[in-house]
């Protein structure tokens, strides 16, 4: 329910932030004596130079979009679900369990592993949720702890219980082909089914957040849980449902990482997709509609940057620098925009003598 002027302003500021971050990164590249345009060319070639590479971008895009969409839902409910990394790992572990130990044909084993990953992600997320709603442990601290625990459990499984005979303790050994998500073709090694699934989920999230009671309850709980409760929202259930939803998507992301990307369970199999998802959610200002686009750009940047070392003798972390400055500048521009809007709206919100609830305090502030 924004007016066109606000939308235009929002887009303008976002564009400004993108240009500024590109300029900053270009400056950095010049500083280390490289040609910015060449670097961009390399990035572009690295991401879109061939159909194999585009497939690689999608392989980043699938788990990143899933975790970002899940995070959008928890952020909407006011929950800083830092535990998303652990939820991805829980999904990966559950999927790996099925992949390793259920001797069934591919048509059964893969869906079963995916379903297991969802269960794992939901359980791990609900753990953070119950800690938050019942025991008052803030989700950031609970999430950090649960991330660490998920990693420890993974390490233990990889190194001990699930280590193959004569294994190297770096992974559980390759899964059977029957446990892996099939790819489209040798020239386009990604899963079309997963891409479609992610698009469907993205549409569903957008619709749910804007058009359903659940979406409104998430928003109300996120903005003011005490008021939401009095307006009839079962805030505890709403928070837990947000955790569960994010956990499910994170679990799916974990499944994709192990059942497709690695084909084995290894420590830190999430590859930081969860934390990157947090950046994406911040970047899009919790607007689910933008998530697939932004994650695609991030995927391209990440995958494309792997070629930098080969052709430019540049560390791939330059891509991460670009991402970091981009997120910072977009958030900064959001703040600037809010200030600008505030200033231009001020005359409309003039106090009256009769009905200001506590004008004294606000006015006192303006004197300081």
């Amino acid at each position: 329910m924004q007016n066109p002027r606000e939308t235009a302003l929002q887009l303008g500021f976002a564009a400004l932030a993108i240009i500024a971050s590109l300029a900053l990164s270009a400056g950095l590249i010049i500083l280390i004596d490289r040609e910015p345009l060449e670097v961009i060319e390399t990035l572009w070639q690295g991401a879109f130079g061939s159909s194999e590479r585009v497939a690689g971008v999608f392989n980043f895009w699938i788990p990143l979009t899933l975790s970002s969409l899940g995070l959008i839902v928890t952020f909407r409910a006011g929950l800083w679900n830092i535990g998303v990394e652990g939820q991805i790992m829980a999904g990966a572990v559950f999927a790996s369990g099925v992949a390793l130990f259920v001797p069934a044909p591919q048509v059964i084993r893969v869906p079963l592993a995916i379903a297991a990953s969802v269960v794992g992600g939901v359980l791990w997320a609900l753990l953070a949720g119950v800690l938050k709603t019942r025991l008052g442990v803030h989700e950031i601290f609970g999430g950090v702890a649960l991330n660490a625990i998920a990693n420890v459990i993974t390490n233990f499984l990889v190194g001990n219980l699930w280590s193959p005979p004569g294994g190297n303790a770096l992974d559980t050994g390759p899964f059977d082909d029957a446990a892996r998500i099939p790819f489209y073709s040798d020239g386009f090694q990604t899963s079309i089914a997963m891409i479609v699934l992610v698009i469907v989920i993205a549409i569903a999230v957008v619709v749910m957040l804007s058009g359903t009671r659940w979406g409104l309850e998430l928003k109300a709980t996120g903005k003011n849980p005490r008021s939401a409760l009095l307006l009839g929202v079962a805030t505890e259930k709403t928070s837990l449902s947000a955790f569960a939803f994010c956990g499910a998507l994170a679990g799916l992301a974990g499944a994709y990482r192990v059942l497709f990307f690695y084909g084995t369970l290894r420590p830190l199999a999430s590859g930081g997709v969860g934390f990157l998802g947090i950046l994406v959610a911040l970047l899009v200002g919790n607007q689910a509609l933008w998530v697939p686009l932004v994650t695609f750009a991030f995927g391209a940047l990440l995958f494309g940057s792997t070629r930098l070392r080969i052709t430019q003798q540049l560390d791939a972390s330059i891509a991460k620098t670009l991402q970091g400055t981009l997120v910072l500048l977009v958030i900064l521009s959001g703040g600037l925009r809010a200030r600008l809007l505030n200033r231009s709206n001020q005359p409309a919100a003039e106090p009256t003598t009769t009905s200001e609830p506590n004008p004294v305090i606000t006015e006192a502030k303006s004197y300081e």
Partner: protein, 532 residues
């Protein structure tokens, strides 16, 4: 008479213009004159050519309906707002200040309705805070000073008590001595008697009289409680529509003051006596026990009938807030039960209470009730339980109808925080179900002017008339007496029912909320709760 000042805390703050120090060392001199003050808010002329003089040692009542311009005038005088036109003269010198701190340095300080103290501090720290420029204040000196002042006025303040556990009255007392310590010679009080007991009021008034008489302080009392003004003030100034419409010396009768304010006498809102003996019971509390760290209410039992209004009286933190929340499942009941229409809902979540027809309204509108960042339509959609998909056009339509019906100044697409406080209150009313089984209201008219409060009660009584039972709390004793069929008085967790509401007076109630039960509790005045 110049005395050397050897206190550890800010010496200059205690020293006045003539080099004398306040509170113990004799009279100060100060006259304030307001000349041609104008203030406009948009089209509203809040202060229209105000000319007033306040003389040393006088207590002046500033009377007027809310919206008459008295708060605006006091804010101008205390530096919270600048005037559009006009001058403030102190001892015939024109002064120009840019904020409350500057006003204080000129000797004018205002006690806000909600005292502006720092919650996490102790009494002593708050006293030192703002009055000592030193990085390491001398606590022992400050403590001695604090003790001297509290002793002088008979204030009940212990230096190491944290602010969070003080009553409103104690916070007021602390704020007063803090302002005095800052060298204030004119003290403005805005509705200081709301939410304090009769006894605390007496202490406060004694201190103010003492300050005026012995120290020559000017005290300005903003109030619409005529009894308070008559009891305390030497003179009154009456505002209406932004102008001074009358000034006179006291004593005067309440009727004379009302006439000055309204031009005619106003009859009190009369309340039809309703026979409720056959009305069905909508809510029953059975030996309800609610405990917190500070207070516990035990064995509270009563029935609320359809169409009945029960008022809860009591100072802040006497247990009434807790009891009301427990009635709606928002506070854990340790023992006992809450029955809605005969169904046991003890310790069920609030959502089950709403489904059973019980709605709770908290005192803070925006903190607990409305959601900043959501539009009016979104609020409506939230309370409209219509399945899992939201019918936005329908929600918008309903909200538009309600906006019209409740005369809300705002659009359906406005975020709630864009509305003024009075309009937010109207939105809350618009969101209430039309015919709830029971309403539990924490303080339904908090911060509202007389007119808005009356409007709220019209809405509530309309629901009462169709059979809604109402339980409400209020620090405003007039409100309790005016609208309650029965009144329960809470004091430190004890609960006593006022024997006959029609015969009780605000005075009597004032003494009861201060803990003086015995003289009022007759044989039939049942004690509803006692410590276990």
């Amino acid at each position: 008479m110049h005395l050397p000042c050897k206190f550890g805390i800010n010496e200059s703050a205690f020293r006045l213009h003539g080099g004398r120090t306040l509170l113990v060392y004799g009279k100060v001199h100060m006259d304030i004159e307001l000349r041609g003050i104008h203030k406009r808010f948009g089209s509203v002329h809040a202060n229209n050519d105000i000319n007033l003089t306040f003389n040393e040692g006088r207590i002046i009542g500033i009377l007027g309906e809310n919206g008459a311009g008295k708060s605006t005038l006091m804010k101008i005088l205390s530096g919270f707002q600048p005037a559009d036109e006009g001058d403030i003269l102190i001892d015939e010198q024109r002064v120009d200040y840019t904020g409350p701190l500057a006003a204080i340095s000129h000797g004018i300080g205002m006690l806000q309705q909600d005292p502006l103290d720092v919650g996490a501090f102790t009494v002593l720290e708050n006293f030192i805070y703002g009055s000592s420029p030193r990085f390491l204040p001398n606590r022992r000196e400050a403590q001695k000073r604090l003790k001297d002042i509290t002793n002088r006025f008979g204030f009940d303040l212990h230096p190491s008590t944290p602010i969070a556990s003080l009553s409103i009255a104690q916070r007021q007392q602390l704020e007063i001595i803090r302002l005095l310590a800052l060298g204030v010679k004119a003290l403005i009080l805005d509705e200081p008697t709301t939410g304090i007991s009769a006894e605390q009021k007496e202490t406060l008034f004694d201190a103010l009289k003492n300050l005026a008489k012995n120290d020559g302080m000017i005290v300005l009392l903003v109030s619409h409680k005529l009894e308070d003004v008559i009891a305390l003030c030497d003179e009154v100034a009456v505002l209406a529509g932004g102008r001074i419409v009358g000034e006179r010396d006291l004593p005067a009768t309440p009727a004379e003051l009302v006439k000055m304010m309204f031009g005619e006498e106003i009859k009190p809102q009369s309340r039809a006596v309703v026979d409720l003996s056959h009305a069905p019971e909508v809510m029953r509390l059975d030996k309800l026990c609610v405990h917190s760290k500070r207070v516990q209410v035990d064995n509270l039992s009563f029935s609320l009938r359809a169409g009945e209004v029960i008022g809860f009286a009591g100072l802040d933190g006497s247990g009434q807030e807790m009891a009301m929340r427990a009635m709606a499942g928002l506070e854990h009941a340790h023992r006992g039960g809450v029955f809605i229409n005969g169904v046991d809902l003890t310790n069920r979540p609030y959502t089950q209470f709403t489904r059973a027809g019980v709605t709770f309204c908290a005192a803070g509108r925006v903190e607990e009730g409305l959601i900043a960042g959501l539009t009016l339509t979104e609020h409506m959609a939230l309370v409209q339980h219509t399945g899992s998909r939201i019918d936005w056009p329908a929600a918008r339509q309903t909200m538009k109808e309600q906006i019209k019906h409740y005369d809300i100044r705002g659009k359906a697409t406005d975020p709630i925080e864009a509305l003024s406080g009075g309009n937010q209150q109207r939105v809350l009313m618009a969101l209430l179900p039309e015919q709830p089984v029971a309403l539990v209201l924490e303080n339904p008219t908090r911060g509202l002017d007389v007119d808005s409060a009356r409007w709220i009660w019209e809405q509530l009584l309309r629901r009462r008339n169709v059979g809604t039972g109402i339980v409400f709390g209020s620090p405003d004793l007039d409100e309790l007496v005016a609208y309650s069929d029965r009144i329960f008085v809470f004091y430190a967790g004890q609960v006593v029912e006022v024997p006959d509401v029609r015969k009780t007076s605000v005075d009597e109630l004032g003494r009861m909320i201060g803990g003086h039960f015995e003289e009022f509790v007759t044989e039939e005045g049942a004690l509803h709760a006692e410590p276990a």
